[in-house]
Point group: C2
Chain length 122, copies 2
């Protein structure tokens, strides 16, 4: 797979997991992973999964508009930049968001080293 295909596959996997089995996201992060979520900072898979698990909605559905990627660094990392919208229930308005990830290779796969998320208010 080329880098664009890897990035798209990661993005599909990430948001499908978020929307259907949020606790399983923990396996995508490692101890040194960082999340900045609406300006709040979290370090390490456990803290990140704790934050994502405590978001105040049970349902979530992400729709992805764009996925861009670029190679990053000598280790074979990848920067992935996403825009889309999410809906936290069938009667809720969609909220636009953007999110960026730095993926690093580990054991034939990638994990999320850096994750920054922002809602884009109208």
């Amino acid at each position: 797979m080329d880098a664009d295909a890897v990035a798209k596959a990661f993005v599909e996997h990430y948001y499908r997991t978020f929307d259907t089995n949020r606790p399983a996201l923990v396996s995508l992060y490692q101890d040194g992973s960082m999340l900045t979520f609406e300006g709040q900072q979290f370090l390490g898979a456990a803290a990140i999964a704790g934050k994502l698990g405590s978001l105040p909605f049970a349902q979530c559905h992400h729709d992805i508009n764009t996925v861009d990627c670029q190679p990053s660094g000598p280790q074979g990392g990848m920067l992935v930049f996403v825009s889309g919208s999410l809906r936290t229930g069938p009667d809720e308005h969609p909220l636009k968001f953007s999110q960026m990830f730095q993926l690093l290779p580990a054991g034939g796969n990638f994990y999320v080293q850096n994750d920054m998320f922002r809602l884009n208010y109208g």
Copy 2:
């Protein structure tokens, strides 16, 4: 300066330069720098400056809403994630955008290794 202060100073400098002296942005990139602008890819300072210089508006004013940053990699790099709006003339509607940069250190300063830009359509 801590990392947040460096990121904020970079962001202020970048968009002020974009809005007042766009050709000078070339000095912030190097030969290996990458720009993905609305999905189009450009490699190297000359190609990137060419793209930014050929955008179809003479005036531009950026307003920044959020700046997030995280450290990146063993070289002392930094990921900077920006959301804001821009206006290409006094009578134009503001357009929301998000943009991410990877800054790498060089000679006591930082340059832009990675740059990805997207408008966030309403």
